[in-house]
Amino acid sequence: MIETALIVETVVKAIIALAVIAGMAGFATFIERKVLAFMQRRLGPMHVGPYGLLQLAADGIKLFTKEDIIPQNVVKPIFMIAPVIAAASAFVAIAAVPYFPEFTVFGYTIHPIISDINVGLLFIMGAASVGMYAPLLAGLSSHNKWSLLGGARAVIQLLSFEVVSGLSILGPVMMIGSLSLINMNDYQIGGVANWLIWKQPLAFVLFAIAGFAETNRTPFDLIEFEAEIVSGYATEYSGMRWGLFFIGEYANMITISVLVSIIFLGGYNDIWIIPGAIAMLIKVSLWIFLFLWVRAAWPHVRPDQLMWVCWKVLMPLALINVLITGIVLV
Amino acid sequence: MSDIMVTIDGIKYKAREGESILKIARRNGVFIPAICYLTDCSPTLACRLCLVEIDGKRAYSCNAKAKEGMSVISSNEEIEVERKAIMEVYDINHPLECGVCDQSGECELQNYTLEMQRDEQSFSIADTSRPSHDWGFIHYDSSLCIVCERCVTVCKDMIGDSALKTVPRGGAVLDKSWKDTAPKDTYAMWNKLQKSLIGLASGGDTLECTNCGECTAVCPVGALVGSDFQYTSNAWELTKIPAANPHSSDCSLMYYDIKHTSIKDHKDKIYRVSNDFHFSTLHGGARYGYDFANEIDKKDEKAFKKAVKFFKEEADSIKFNSFITNEEAYILQKLKEKFGYKLVNDDAFAYKKFLQNYRQVSGKSLYSSNLRDVKDSNFVVSVGSFIKSDSPNTGYAINNAMTMNKGAGLYFHPIADPVVDGYSKNLMSISHQAGVEESILYLLLDLFGDKEAMPKSVVDYLASFHKTVKKTITEVVKEQVKEMVKDEESGEEKEVVKTVSKNVEKEIEVDVNSLYGVVGLPDDFDSKLTKFLAKKDKFSLIVGEDLYNHKRAENLAKLVGLIERFTDFNTLIIPTSTNTLGVSLICDLDESVGKKVIGYNEKADFALSALGKGDLDMPALNQQEGTFTAMDKRVVPTNVALQFNGYCLNDIANELGLDAENTIDYTPELGNIDGFKNEEFDDLPNEFENSGFENRGYLLEEKNLTCKDEIQEIKEVTFGDGDLVYLANPVMQFSAFTNKAHQLNEAGALYVSSDFLEKRGLKDGGMILLSNGDAKLAIALKLDMQIKGDIPYLPTFDSKLDVLPFFKDGYRFAKVEMKGVEK
């Protein structure tokens, strides 16, 4: 009985999470256009629906109904599967992420996490890293030099940020002593002062930087940088396949925002009178805004600069952080 | 005319004594501005721009004759002031309508005003209303006219029509105060300019001339333009395609000015024909008869296959005329060699025979003169050519010789021609009986021949015409009488010598030449001729078409040969039509056709036609590239003005086993024929140099041969009593091609003089019935003011009229019965 309920609950939660995150990802594209426009003294989409709100639906319809073009000479199965990897890995990562505090509906306690596995953080990081296969495979299979360059850049980017994000998160993990995100959240109960950001500021910064890199956002959008390599790995993609890459990217953005909020910014704990769920929404929104804000303001870096920064600056710093954390703990 | 040295601006140039300074300067590339001067015409001295300083004195370079050691300064400050002032005067009241003017872009007034950098005006005078006139082919806008008198000069000195003259302007009188302010020459030139305009010499409203349109070509401004061309295109939009006159044997250099037809139709169209008027003159046929192109949409493969089949299986002869290029003639000759076709070309056949006979006696492969020589000569005799229609350019050359060299001449033709009479007082027109040409040539031999060198038989034969007759004449004898006169005042007596005239009757012996009577010379011929021949040193004899088909053509040709050999005359034997000379040299012609005939621009069993009515369309002469052999014994190139979309003769020849990509691949092969050279078409130049040197194509090589003297005596050709009709085209018409041109399209008629109409009580436009033998024709009458006498002529240009049956034996005169049809 319990088994069945658990399965039903998990399936329902999964569907809801998928729908909401996908929807949010779509909405995020609208918000991104608007925010970028405002920052550049423009209006952004205005004509479809009030203030262009339905632009999202229009884009969706367009993407879904567009012809699925598979160019000649591409490696067909890989070309076709690459965007699926992007979207799937992003959504798989979501499985171990808790969003809100648990709550009771009709006497039934609901944990807003699809699966509270004890190595949640590791799982998320792993799943998200698998997502990096998507641009790599897409780039290699596309039979296009821009795509190939994009794929190559994806690899060097993976090699660079993965080390940093892993090492930077090591400090908090050492302090908390658990890889479960719920435990991390619970560690910070008790107001803003208990937030891990104060204890691990360097780790926070490093993780944030790594997060930008992982989501391919400016200033680390070098795998699909238009001025240099057209559209990178996605050059040959169109229609819904391209849309899957897009959804994956925004889902990743949301995941990273949630992760940062939970690990460093007090998670879904209440702040004074603000209930935890609202606080969580605010934090995630602010982080997404930050992603957009940065895109509007900053130039992007070169691949060599990315590697230089990651390997020669951030990684040593992360190591030092781990060392200091260790010393303090002992 | 010896070589001298003249210094211009410090550089020494070779020149001939008596040449004008302007000519020397132009030849050597020294710029002296001049608006009114025309090469080969007399200086007008209207513009005074060619002012130079010769040995410290002002002179007009167009008029100044070169002398040994002359030192000329082409420009100094004083002269510049004068020239600039003259330019300003020309610009006074000149309408500022360059925007719409047809001459804009090639206007000498524009060019010189810019050259002299005139951008302001210091003279003024009240303007006069100057209306524009429509003179048929020509439009005269007198408000644009700068009265340089080039049109008047060219019409008189080159063309010989003298149809234009200056007339009073009736404008404001030049204020005397200008005399003080304006430079000297400027004032004089202005004074003259302000008094005159151009008008018609006839005084009426219609232009009575041969409509050559040369006045429109020479006009430096937009005053005289072709009515048809007016306002249709700017000069700079037109592309000039160098070509040769395709209608007559002078093959003068001319340019087809082409541009797209309209915004909707991008096909090329010929807008006008232009020429280098300083060096080459065009007649009306060439100037207005340009749009005779055969326009077809695409290749007609069926017709082509039929043609090839006809060539291969049925045809045994090809009939053609001389409106073809040398290359086409060569292709036909090659086809003859390969398949044994008979080649029939009536006019070239007659001309060829005539030339062969001439060759036998004269010992020269070709006639010795050309148009340049005729222009340079000062005594010209023309026999057997209806020159105004047959070869206008030869007529221009005669006129030019008369006016420029103070020349004199004799014009023998049965039809009296007021236009030729108008050339000069010193050109005696003799309207003789048809058929006496032999006598004329014998007469020339008698008058000019070197009796000591000539064969004895000829001398004896000539002597047989002479008789000594005793004649009583009244002679005026002047006697000096001495008289004593008493001076009344002083009373002294003086001896005074007085001259008193007395009439004395005297009997003298006179040498009478019976040929005079046969030819019909006037009584005072001898004395006139003596006057004519004074100071004459260059003689030209022009022989025309009447002689080639003459019943006595063989003997006539030999007589011309004798004249060439034993007199000072240089002979010009005018080729009948465009390329008659070329065809006669290239093709081995036959006398008559066989059973199945292919016609090239001729009616036949299978007709290849550029006129657009035949079984297979061919390109017209302005759609072909190739060469003509011109009257000047020169092979001249002509180029494609308009695209032809169909098949040409070369395509048929290739199908029959010859091999050449283009027709012009045969141009160098012409070198296989005597006289022609092995030269690529693309290497042939086609221009006049600044000096007037004709750098066009190449000259035929001439040879000297051994001569024979087999001359026959005169055999009378008489027509008896009755009406004669002549075979000739009216002015400007040469063939069906000229008639196809929209400006020249007209229906053929019997062209008659006003004498003819008066005598028979007929009216212009009435009908007449002609008949001789089997031929019968009802035809309209058309009054031709430019002939006199009783002989009318029938034209060949109208392909709807079949007039040739009247002239069965080929001779241009035929006896007919005429019956006026009353309406």
Partner: protein
């Protein structure tokens, strides 16, 4: 005249030359540069500027189909053929100068003599597929007949649209309604044009 001013064409007063900061030679220097850049907070200046603009909400967007930009008089769009204000007849006299000067060779005109023996422009066309809107035609036109309009919406169903005389000439009804404005732009007379006129003496 000295050529210095022409040879050194980048120099004009007010230029500030910036050589750039020296390149870091050692990795220590590179690290220092990284630090100084990071600590200086230049990146945050950028962040602040875009945020400031967002807060100010000073939007410059022109919502095109509803709102349209007013073009300046010197803007060079699709040509217009004007009429004479006095008579309403066409200004074009068919001089062909525009046809001549057109560097993309896209102007053509057909002319003929009309009944009043004046030059009549029967058709006038500009091939807008080729036209580069350089404005030479308007500048060279002695009658100010061919001018540039301000209509910049060039989408059409046919290549030949806009390019014929009837498309460019001010329609008579519009002309009669006084809708034709004198053209102040490229090729129009300058305000000081009178100064350059040289007077011609008249004998009246």
């Amino acid at each position: 005249m000295e050529l210095r001013g022409f040879k050194n064409r980048n120099v004009s007063p007010g230029y500030i030359f910036f050589e750039g900061e020296p390149k870091p030679l050692t990795s220590w220097e590179q690290f220092k540069r990284f630090l100084s850049r990071a600590v200086k907070g230049e990146l945050f200046v950028g962040l602040w500027i875009v945020l400031r603009e967002m807060i100010r909400f000073d939007i410059h967007t022109l919502q095109y189909p509803m709102e349209k930009l007013k073009m300046g008089p010197r803007y060079r769009a699709i040509h217009k053929l004007l009429r004479l204000f006095d008579s309403g007849s066409e200004r074009c006299i068919g001089c062909g100068l525009c046809e001549k000067i057109c560097i993309s060779n896209c102007i053509k005109m057909d002319t003929k003599v009309d009944e009043k023996s004046r030059k009549l422009v029967t058709q006038y066309s500009i091939n807008f597929g080729r036209c580069i809107f350089c404005g030479y035609c308007a500048e060279v036109c002695p009658e100010l007949a061919i001018v540039h309009g301000s209509s910049y919406e060039h989408a059409s169903e046919q290549r030949a649209s806009f390019g014929l005389k009837e498309d460019m000439l001010t329609p008579l009804d519009k002309f009669k309604a006084n809708k034709q404005k004198e053209f102040p732009g490229f090729g129009a007379l300058s305000k000081d044009a009178d100064k350059f006129v040289k007077k011609t003496p008249l004998a009246y």
